[in-house]
């Protein structure tokens, strides 16, 4: 048809405009009728509702996910907490009501009034919490006098409950109230002010899964604020459960043996990297943190010299001492500086330049091969081997064994330890490396620092034929019906830089540590299970040569750290253990029995039962 050109056809335009006008009239009629319906026909009803301010929102807290051990034993659950709250708008005479309450629950009137005034102006139409988690006795009294207490009500909310006191506290962690910065950060979209979030341990690193989602209710209330009817409910969504790899029984044994000691125990499944035990002592009671820890307890925890808030398994950095000799052996064998037949003569000391380096056994070990050197922990053999390999090559092997980097366990603030190189020293101190220092490094003293977790992963790899695993603490995330939502896969992080032959030599030496009569940990020998391991005694304070000080004469905090790392059964390991006892003096006496007891329990060898007690017996062996 014809086009209009610039000017519209009047008749056409008129027809369009009339059409539009009809539409507008219709739409406005709809709006007007709707207003009339709400304001005239339903007006009376809405006026009443508005006067009572009768429709309110209440929020329902979502229960956090549970935490289970590897056999689905419950470690952390939720218990009901009875929170006493007041709705000021409904309270009538607030002072009178609060006065009554203060007598019923034995809390000073002023303290309660302060909570109300702290809640501020906007609180008038929102409930104010008078006291969280009141006791059952107080609850009964308040409930009985319900009708004398207008505006007062009990809000039942799920609260975190740690079933085993002080067990795996560093691993499980605790909760704390969310702060304003965190709320504003947008990282916690479902968290409201007053809610708790994970602050430590798996409670923190798995926060998004454990959290769940708040629900709520739209309720109609009467003039006293009591619910007349629930209009609508959105059910809260329970958080997801965590299935840990921890073995509760083994963990409990480890914690019991760490009692009154400072240190850490880690046990792994060498074929998956699953963490069976992660214990750090001294610990803390997570239940103290529920509902906010009081400042006195917090101060006590922070000022304790034993550092109870540090997870020593992943945050404690210690010289590896003689356990490091495994790495020096690997490096020397792989670099072909020594072979299985190479021997060194140990007269009890090693003269290097114009200095004398002592062996821990001042009588000397005589002629030792690498296998004997591991078994008897001969220092002189490793002074020579280390000197041949050199500091930087040694560091290369140490890093290949997983040191100087985090193991990647899913917990916050893991430390990576330190493996020195000549370049590192140049950067750090602007000094050249002395060859003599290499001798200290070769026996795990000097700048070397490792965590018990790193050593556990390493010794597990030695036992399993060379595979380094990422330690896994959670194996799966589950729904409340035990349905698997997300599996956390086993992860291989690398291979030991050691061939099959090298590993066989090392393994033989490690087996000798326990099974050979000259081994440094022969005292933990079990009847049915063969353990392969390595002791270590890390110097904290060096005693001047010639001065022989008895351990018990040294101040506790200057005593040596004791190490024991091992796996068992030697031929086909199912468990690897790393024990560090701070100021425990000797690896063989302080650390090895704990590992022996755990292995005995795990593989069911009753001959391990005596080990728990005789760890105090003094022996001068390394």
């Amino acid at each position: 048809m014809t086009e209009f050109g610039k000017n519209p056809d009047r008749e056409w335009l008129k027809q369009r405009i009339i059409g539009v006008s009809i539409c507008i009239i219709f739409a406005f009629s709809v709006l007007f009728l709707r207003f009339t319906y709400l304001q005239i026909i339903k007006g009376e009803e809405f006026r009443l509702l508005s006067e009572k301010n009768a429709v309110r929102l209440t929020s329902i807290k979502a229960p956090r996910g549970l935490i289970l051990d590897r056999d689905r034993k419950l470690l952390v659950d939720n218990r009901p907490s009875f929170n006493l709250k007041i709705m000021l708008e409904d309270a009538g005479n607030v002072k009178e009501t609060v006065h009554k309450i203060s007598q019923m629950i034995d809390i000073p009137f002023e303290e309660l009034m302060k909570k109300i005034s702290d809640a501020g102006q906007g609180a008038f139409y929102k409930p104010v919490t008078l006291q969280d988690d009141i006791s059952r006795d107080h609850l009964a009294i308040v409930e009985a006098h319900k009708f004398d207490l207008p505006g007062v009500f009990i809000d039942i909310e799920p609260t975190r409950h740690y079933i085993y006191k002080k067990i795996a506290s560093h691993l499980l962690g605790y909760l704390g109230e969310v702060n304003n910065d965190e709320l504003l950060s947008g990282k916690y979209p479902n968290v409201k002010s007053g809610d708790s979030i994970g602050r430590y341990g798996v409670e923190k690193s798995f926060e998004p899964y454990l959290q769940g989602k708040r629900g709520g209710r739209q309720i109609e209330v009467d003039a006293n604020g009591r619910t007349i009817k629930v209009l609508k409910t959105v059910e809260p969504i329970t958080g997801l459960d965590l299935k840990l790899t921890i073995d509760l029984d083994l963990q409990q044994t480890a914690e019991k043996m760490l009692e009154d000691k400072h240190g850490a125990v880690v046990a792994l499944d060498p074929n998956t990297g699953d963490v069976l035990v992660m214990a750090s002592a001294p610990g803390f009671d997570q239940n103290d943190f529920v509902g906010g820890i009081n400042s006195k307890k917090w101060k006590a925890l922070m000022s304790d010299r034993g550092k109870p808030m540090t997870n020593k398994a992943i945050q404690g950095e210690y010289p590896p001492a003689s356990t490091y000799k495994i790495i020096t052996s690997i490096a020397a064998l792989e670099e072909k500086e020594i072979d299985i037949h190479t021997t060194a003569f140990c007269p009890g000391f090693f003269r290097y330049g114009n200095r004398v380096y002592r062996c821990w056994n001042k009588n000397g070990h005589g002629n030792v091969s690498v296998i004997e050197a591991v078994t008897q922990s001969c220092d002189v053999f490793y002074y020579q081997a280390g000197d041949k390999v050199g500091v930087d090559t040694l560091a290369k092997y140490a890093m290949g064994c997983g040191l100087n980097k985090k193991t990647g366990v899913l917990l916050e603030d893991e430390r990576k330890g330190l493996i020195p190189t000549s370049l590192w020293k140049k950067k750090r101190f602007n000094e050249a490396w002395h060859r003599g220092e290499t001798l200290s490094i070769a026996i795990g003293q000097g700048y070397d620092l490792v965590t018990p977790m790193q050593m556990a992963v390493f010794i597990a790899a030695v036992g399993n034929g060379g595979t380094l695993y990422k330690p896994r603490i959670v194996s799966g995330i589950e729904g409340s019906q035990g349905n698997l939502i997300k599996e956390i896969p086993v992860e291989v992080t690398g291979k030991l830089p050691a061939g099959k032959k090298t590993l066989e030599i090392i393994q033989k030496g490690l087996l000798g540590v326990v099974e050979n009569d000259r081994g440094t940990a022969k005292r933990i020998r079990l009847k049915h299970v063969k353990i392969a391991g390595k002791t270590g005694t890390a110097q904290v304070f060096s005693v001047k040569s010639g001065e022989k000080l008895k351990t018990e004469h040294l101040d506790f905090y200057l005593r040596d750290h004791a190490w024991f790392i091992c796996y068992a059964p030697a031929e086909n390991p199912v468990i690897a253990v790393s024990v560090l006892i701070e100021h425990g003096a000797h690896g063989s006496t302080a650390a090895a029995p704990i590992a022996g007891a755990l292995i005995g329990q795990y593989i069911n060898d009753p001959s391990a039962e005596g080990l728990e007690k005789n760890s105090s017996e003094d022996e001068t062996q390394e």
């Binding site: 709006l31 207003f35 429709v55």
Partner: protein, 368 residues
Amino acid sequence: MFDRRLIENFDWGFLIVIFSICCIGLVVLFSALTAGQEAGAVSSLFKKQMVWMGSGFIIMIVLTMVDYRELDKLQLFIYAFCAGLLVIVLIFGQISGGSRRWLAIGFLRIQPSELMKIALIISLASAYSTSVTQTGINFRKLIKPAVLSLIPFALIVDQPDLGTAMLLILIAGSITLFVKVERKVFFSLFITGLSAIPLLWFMLKDYQKDRILTFLNPDRDPLGSGYHIIQSKIAIGSGMLSGKGFLKGTQNALSFLPEQHTDFIVSVLAEEWGLMGISVLLILYFILLLWGLNIAYNCRNMFGSILAFGIIAMIFWQIFINTGMVMGLMPVVGVPLPLVSYGGSSVTTNMVGFGILLNISMRKFSSH
């Protein structure tokens, strides 16, 4: 040179209607702010709104001075400028309330999606003014307007600002229906529109889907918008015939209304001034819209007629969606009520629209 006839033709009546709505808006805004904000914020927000309205009137008058037909020539430039701003806002925009809508230029904060509404209306008017026929637009001629509308739509959905994006499509659709499409085009558009819904659905992110589902059914979200609608209905209904009186609204005073000075402001009016107050506002809007249609009818220029209609459509949809929403007739979408809701971008955009309408009205007797 300024034609004397232009001043004689100035549409004073239209200006008075706009001015009256602004006055009602300020009275209601004062109530809403008094209840919802601290004393200091009340006067500062109220003053800001006054400044925006004042500068809006100035912009409106300035806009009448240049012949609106110049817009036809500049349309591509205006459109490209606004689309460019939308792209910039996606990259550099300030995030507020989970979406990127604002662009900070010095002390000014502008919302490019608001400007885009006007730009799109101008461009569509320009495109259709040369392609209108008695029987309606055919497919080929629909391609350009469709592209013009979908570009800003996609950019605004991405912010995400579903309310404004939806408004844009409603405006474009209204203009298209106004200029008339061929019958077969109409039906096939209708059908492709319907079949595109599932496709679009899969392109949306989960939280966007969630919002739309809640838009469609507020009962899905009884703690959020469902609750807001109930409180809003109580506020409106409790106003009854004559209202509770100025500053006497209890729902308003208790801060039970969400966004009471922006999206839910009509509830405040209804509570304090009752059905009588509402009727006055609705009648004024009604007069405004019909007046605007009259301007479109009297314009002797196809571009001007469509342009005028586009602006009327923009005002209409805002009124209809906003009041429908607060009464529970519509999903909860953040669309402000023209000249009543608080907000600089909204006031300015609407004033620009009215300026264009006045401009067209003044030049109804001059033709090419």
